[in-house]
């Protein structure tokens, strides 16, 4: 089965990325970053909209921040990830062909699509810049997702329940799935930012960074990670808004009201509010760095709850899980 082939590919990629990560080093060491950041006044570091310092940050660092002797294993990891993602895409297409419809009708299919969306987002982003250091943290969630899909969520390919037989499936569910993929990448970046920021903060304060230096030394600077996370979230937030609104338009045609506080609708709203808070936090003094990253992680948690808890445990109109 193509899905198992894809999973095998991801396992290989995971190992390759792990090896690559252990061998690579960030260009600007923790000490250098600490020195540079300390030179900027604390007020400018803290908040508000971009200052001159930020302008210098974004230009001083090049895109290839993390280099090192792990280049070959990193390349292997990257190529295998592309291959595995293509295999997964083929699996989804086959599933769609066998059911003569878009393969987004139950949790098994949603999970495949979400896994593909995460991996595809990563692959596309890696075309513009070197993201081999991020590979491990993308491939592991994708593997977990596919594993859960194949073991617990699996169900035969069949027709859709009548409520899903609408062209809105292509619009609303596609938008939501694409967003889930991109937000997962954003969450991975935010989590890595927390690691890097903690290491840098310790060095600035003159303490020993400790064990997290092992990871922080193999990742880009905290500023860079924060910027990447912000850009993904900012770009995808309008699309998430569109996903929620297109869901409302579909609900009006199917259920008689465009918003009924169905549990899934409620959690989509909660997710939207959390990401809105993230965007607000990034322009608020005192909320920019670590706290904003926590909000981003809260957002992805809401998405996970919306997917696993609401679909399976909470009854409502959105119960298309297909899980018995």
């Amino acid at each position: 089965m193509l899905v198992y082939a894809a999973m095998t590919g991801y396992v290989v990629a995971m190992v390759a990325f792990a090896i690559s990560l252990s061998k690579s080093r960030r260009i600007e060491t923790l000490q250098e970053t600490a020195a540079r950041v300390s030179a900027v006044s604390p007020a400018a570091r803290q908040g508000g909209t971009a200052t001159l310092a930020d302008a210098s940050v974004s230009t001083a660092l090049s895109d290839g921040d993390v280099l090192g002797s792990g280049r070959r294993s990193g390349n292997i990891g990257m190529s295998v990830t592309w291959l595995a993602t293509l295999l997964l895409g083929a699996a989804i297409i086959c599933r769609g062909l066998s059911a003569s419809r878009l393969p987004w009708g139950n949790m098994y299919e949603f999970s495949l699509a979400a896994g593909f969306s995460i991996a595809f987002a990563y692959c596309v982003l890696s075309l513009k810049r070197d993201l081999r250091w991020l590979g491990l943290f993308i491939v592991v969630p994708v593997l977990l997702d596919l594993g859960i899909a194949a073991t617990i969520l699996y169900t035969d390919s069949a027709e859709l329940v009548p409520a899903l037989q609408s062209y809105w499936l292509a619009i609303h569910v596609t938008a939501a799935t694409v967003c889930v993929g991109a937000f997962t990448v954003g969450a991975a970046l935010s989590a890595l930012y927390l690691v890097a920021e903690r290491a840098e903060a310790k060095v600035i304060a003159g303490e020993e960074p400790g064990r997290i230096a092992f990871l922080a030394n193999r990742l880009p600077t905290a500023d860079r990670l924060d910027l990447m996370a912000y850009r993904i979230h900012a770009f995808m937030f309008p699309i998430w808004t569109f996903a929620v609104i297109s869901g409302a338009i579909w609900a009006e045609a199917a259920w008689g009201r465009y918003w009924g506080w169905d549990p899934k609708e409620t959690w989509a709203f909660i997710t939207w509010v959390i990401y809105a808070a993230y965007l607000h936090a990034r322009v608020t003094v005192g909320w920019r760095g670590r706290k904003a990253a926590y909000i981003a992680l809260a957002g992805i948690s809401a998405i996970l709850i919306n997917y696993f808890v609401v679909n399976i445990l909470i009854p409502g109109l959105h119960s298309y899980s297909g899980v018995k």
Binding site: T49, A50, L52, D54, A55, S58, T59, A60, T155, D156, A158, E159, L160, V161, P162, A163, Q165, S166, W168, L227, Y230, R231, A234, F235, F237, P238, T241, I245, I249, W250, A253, A254, W255, G256, R257, Y258, W259, G260, W261, D262, P263, T266, W267, I270, V273, I274, A276, A277, H280, A281, V283, T284, G286, W287, A302, V310, I314, P315, G316, G322
Partner: protein
């Protein structure tokens, strides 16, 4: 007196601050969580009653805290109202500021452009005034707002970013008003219609009717429709056996009493829209038909009884009440579209389509309790004053002669019924419009970069003119260096680089 004004001003400034906006956003998200966990009266009133029955101690406490009605509760309303006041209090002044900004010029160039992060400089032999004038014209042609000083040109672009931001937030306000007004001036209702019968849009014919605060039942437009056929198709076999694959209800619609009848097929994603009301297919079930005769052989009841499905295979429960016989007769039991041969868990259906229909009834005789003055559910039999006289299993066409000649019940056949939800929401078009504006504004506010670029000319140490171009971005969007390079190239068209010899 002075203290109060100052306090109010402080309070207002806090309310419209970003920190409070963040706090209220978190609170809004948190407050929505119980609305997804506890059953809500608006969508599942039966589950609320069940919860209250199963939790006699904690249930009423939760009820008093409005946890079964979160989204209509006063504390939830307080949160979003405060949030919107904070939003309005922040956005409206910003809108005035933006208006002022639009009418003012870009700022003077900083003295030392080289301190900006993005900077280019070169030597040229063109005259300073030439370079400045031509640059101003060329930059303006590229869409920048330009101000020319004696030794500099200032350019700014991306004003639409703030415009999008304002549009987005104001559209949210509009959305809130549209949602509130729409539900206030509309209504919702449900009705179960059996095949062969119809519905006229009158408040008495609804099974449940919930008007908005400002809607009167007398405003219901006088349309009607009759259900000619309901059809459902299920998947047979495979892991998803029994899952529904297709539903449709064929109706004949009259938009008003003088109109012609029009055929329409209502499906789950294709509602009937008539006279400003939308009619949705939301459920279906079976209604077995019975003929009940009394001990003298006279027909005392002949109709299709609506049985309500209890599970995914449409094991359905229902009752038949025949008050015209003496003594009164009542029957309660199951209709099973495809009966199972295994009765260890009681009568059950194993497939939702009527492949092997059976009816299981228990018969009761006595006093139905209909004259007591208390309302009764049409789906439940009050057996307090009745005695059970027998149970029987019937196939379509079979008769059951009740013991001691008390009567006969015949299972003559079955029809299907469809449940419809009717709704009118005059605000939904507005809500959609505001939502579209919101997305457009949001996209503009996040993607359009706001930038300032300056050109300074000064005397070059080796003769000629030193041109300096520097840029600053209000946000962290990528592309500032590329933009500055592009603008420098435009300057170089009229003030080309001349290396010193």
């Amino acid at each position: 007196m002075f203290g109060i004004t100052a306090w109010l001003r402080w309070f207002w400034r806090q309310l419209t601050s970003m920190r409070i906006a963040l706090f209220l956003l978190f609170l809004l998200a948190l407050a929505s969580v119980p609305g997804s966990i506890f059953p809500q009266r608006g969508t599942a009133p039966a589950r609320v009653s069940q919860y209250l029955r199963e939790h006699p101690k904690s249930g009423p406490i939760l009820d008093r805290l409005h946890l079964f009605d979160v989204f209509a509760s006063p504390w939830f309303a307080a949160i979003y109202l405060l949030l919107f006041i904070s939003l309005a209090g922040c956005v409206i002044p910003r809108a005035f500021e933006y208006w002022r900004e639009l009418r003012s010029e870009p700022p003077t160039a900083p003295r030392n452009l080289s301190r900006l992060g993005v900077y280019e400089s070169w030597r040229t032999t063109t005259s300073a005034s030439d370079a400045l004038a031509k640059t101003a014209v060329n930059w303006e042609a590229k869409g920048w707002r330009v101000k020319v000083g004696d030794t500099y040109v200032s350019a700014e672009k991306g004003y639409a970013r703030e415009f999008g931001n304002l549009v987005f937030h104001l559209a949210l306000l509009g959305l809130l008003v549209a949602v509130g007004a729409g539900s206030s001036y509309g209504f919702r209702g449900t009705v179960i219609v059996r095949e062969g019968t119809g519905f006229a849009n009158n408040v008495t014919q609804y099974d449940s009717f919930t008007p908005g605060r400002s809607y009167s039942a007398t405003s219901l437009p006088p349309f009607s429709f009759s259900l000619t056929d309901f059809h459902a198709k299920y998947q047979s076999g495979g892991m998803q056996s029994g899952a529904a694959r297709e539903f449709h209800a064929d109706v004949l619609v009259k938009a008003n009493p003088e109109a012609r009848e029009v055929k329409f097929r209502i499906k789950v994603n294709e509602p009937l829209r008539v006279a400003g009301v939308t009619v949705y297919l939301v459920g279906h079930g079976y209604s077995p038909e019975f003929t009940v005769r009394d001990s003298k052989g006279k027909i005392v009841w002949q109709d299709a009884a609506i049985f309500l499905p209890q599970d995914a295979n449409f094991t359905s429960n229902g009752v038949v009440k025949a008050p015209d016989s003496v003594p009164q007769l009542g029957f309660q039991g199951y209709f099973l579209p495809t009966v199972t041969s295994d009765f260890s868990q009681g009568p059950r259906s194993i497939f939702p389509a009527p492949d092997d229909p059976q009816v299981f009834l228990s018969a009761w005789s006595g006093d139905l309790g209909l004259d007591s003055g208390l309302p009764q559910s049409v789906y439940q039999l009050d057996t307090q004053k009745m005695k059970r006289i027998g149970i029987e299993e019937l196939s379509p066409g079979e008769k059951w002669k009740l013991p001691r000649g008390q009567g006969v019940i015949e299972f003559t056949g079955f029809k299907q019924w469809a449940a419809f939800s009717l709704a009118r929401d005059p605000g939904k078009g507005w809500a959609l419009g505001f939502a579209i504006f919101a997305i457009a504004g949001l996209t503009m506010s996040l993607l359009i970069p706001r930038r300032r670029v300056w050109l300074r000319v000064a005397e070059h140490a080796e003769g000629g003119i030193l041109c300096e171009v520097g840029g600053l971005a209000k946000t962290q969007a990528p592309g500032l260096p590329a933009e500055v390079t592009r603008l420098s190239l435009i300057v170089k068209e009229s003030a080309p680089e001349v290396l010193s010899d």
